[in-house]
């Protein structure tokens, strides 16, 4: 893990208001778009933050009623995935890419 690595963190609460109260003014990276979804009876949002920020979240948990779960080190996952990016130019010979759909 490198300094400043960003972790993917799942926040759960019983109400939208609890989540807002927890997040308001935090400046957290809320992913692509600041959206919330339902899982069962809970409201869930994902944020991306360095571990020191996670610790701050955890200390705040006792007063907010928000459950905090660290899912993964997103920065590390991304760096590992770079091995799955094409190198050079696989289409330099001008051979057309074929899509994944089945033609039938």
């Amino acid at each position: 893990m490198a300094d400043g690595d960003v972790h993917r963190i799942k926040l759960r609460a019983q109400t939208l208001e609890e989540l807002r109260a927890f997040l308001d003014g935090s400046g957290f990276d809320l992913g692509c778009r600041p959206v919330v979804h339902r899982e069962g009876n809970e409201f869930v949002v994902e944020v991306y933050a360095p571990l020191p920020e996670v610790d701050r979240l955890r200390s705040a948990r006792s007063v907010s009623g928000v459950d905090v779960t660290v899912v993964e080190n997103a920065s590390e996952v991304g760096r590992n995935r770079q091995a799955e990016v094409g190198s050079g130019n696989r289409f330099a010979a001008r051979q057309a890419l074929r899509g994944l759909g089945i033609k039938e």
Partner: protein
């Protein structure tokens, strides 16, 4: 296979255009990026003609979201191969007939801009900072290397000046701090070459009636608006009315954004068609919802595209979606392939539904 790098995206669509010259056109976007890259879009369908409907689909606006550009290149390859071979297309349990493919490729203009932000993608795919989101322009040369880049999807000219238009306590997802790593809105609306390229594409295709911007991840299909909760009864309560500046985006319902009822119904129906196809392709559907949820957004692409008609009613109305595909920014390539199938199925379903003419934007609905 593996994820496409930015050079491969360019050559892939160029090669598709060369292989299918009668039904494609390679379009060079007018603005080079800060690192000197020239981006291209691919038109699939007949040459420009009055009255021809267009669907514009963008991807790769956020650098760390690796799947959308690959999905759009795959979509182009699939449609063109199926059309040339006179076949249908199948993704999992979602089938499109040969007639469906002909109706899309032969009867409308499908304009794909797979990678809006190539500088950012290159940085995310090659540097230690795979979570990079913005473009790579150094707006203020006096600031350090972390204070680089603008969030393209906060830079469009719709309620861009969020401090004026939204309530101070709205929590709007935007920042005027160039060192904000995520949602810096830039020094001015449309300040970024990447943003202006998307605008130029919409200007070039005045027949555009539908727009989809593919992002990741939730997964979800979102429809307009992202400013505040939708309402269909008070046309005066709209984004152009400065009487409501400072009130937008709160949860207290002092302000809610007007959307014509016909548009809302159509958005939900088209979104439902996309989601049905996604579900058939992969077995699991996406959430279908208005894009305003936890906090409001300003200056985003889908609301910009839809707003153009309300700003100038000589322009076509463009019903718009943001598709938040998949369940992570950078899934393994094996998982990414499944997401690509979902996206392709959903977007072809959108095109087929619009071609059926049963569904279209309301002819006219103005805000005062």
């Amino acid at each position: 296979m593996a994820y496409l790098n930015v050079d491969e995206i360019e050559v892939a669509i160029e090669t598709l255009a060369r292989a299918h010259p009668s039904v494609t056109e390679l379009i060079q976007l007018p603005n080079a990026t800060s690192e000197g890259r020239h981006s291209h879009a691919l038109r699939i369908g007949p040459p420009d003609a009055p009255g021809l409907d267009a669907v514009v689909i963008t991807g790769g606006m956020h650098a760390r979201e690796w799947v959308p550009p690959d999905a759009l290149v795959n979509l182009a390859a699939d449609l063109l191969e199926a059309h040339a071979g006179g076949t249908g297309l199948r993704y999992g349990g979602q089938r499109f007939s040969a007639d469906d493919i002909r109706s899309v490729v032969g009867g409308m203009q499908l304009v794909l801009f797979p990678c809006v932000n190539p500088d950012g993608r290159h940085h995310s795919q090659t540097s230690s900072d795979a979570m990079w989101r913005k473009n790579r322009r150094r707006v203020d040369p006096n600031l350090g290397p972390r204070c680089v880049g603008v969030d393209i999807n906060r830079n469009f000219n719709v309620l861009w000046d969020f401090r004026r238009h939204f309530a101070a306590d709205s929590g709007v997802s935007a920042s005027t701090d160039p060192c904000d790593l995520q949602v810096y809105v830039g020094p001015a609306a449309e300040s970024e070459a990447e943003t202006r390229n998307v605008v130029a594409l919409l200007d070039r295709y005045p027949g555009t009636r539908w727009f989809a911007d593919v992002h990741s991840h939730v997964p979800a299909i979102f429809y307009n608006w992202g400013f505040d909760e939708n309402q269909t009864t008070d046309p005066s309560m709209n984004f152009l009315n400065d009487e409501f500046d400072g009130l937008r985006g709160r949860v207290d319902r002092a302000y809610r954004e007007f959307i014509p009822e016909d548009d809302l119904r159509t958005l939900k129906e088209l979104g439902g068609r996309m989601n049905d196809a996604v579900t058939a392709a992969s077995g699991a559907g996406y959430e279908l919802a208005q894009s305003f949820a936890l906090y409001p957004t300003s200056g985003v692409s889908d609301d910009y595209a839809y707003s153009r008609h309300f700003v100038d009613n000589r322009r076509n109305k463009i019903l718009s979606f943001t598709i938040e595909c998949g369940r992570s920014f950078q899934p393994s390539w094996a998982d990414a392939e499944n997401v690509i199938r979902e996206v392709c199925a959903g977007l072809i379903a959108l095109c087929v539904a619009t071609r059926a003419r049963a569904i279209g934007p309301a002819a006219d609905a103005r805000v005062g």
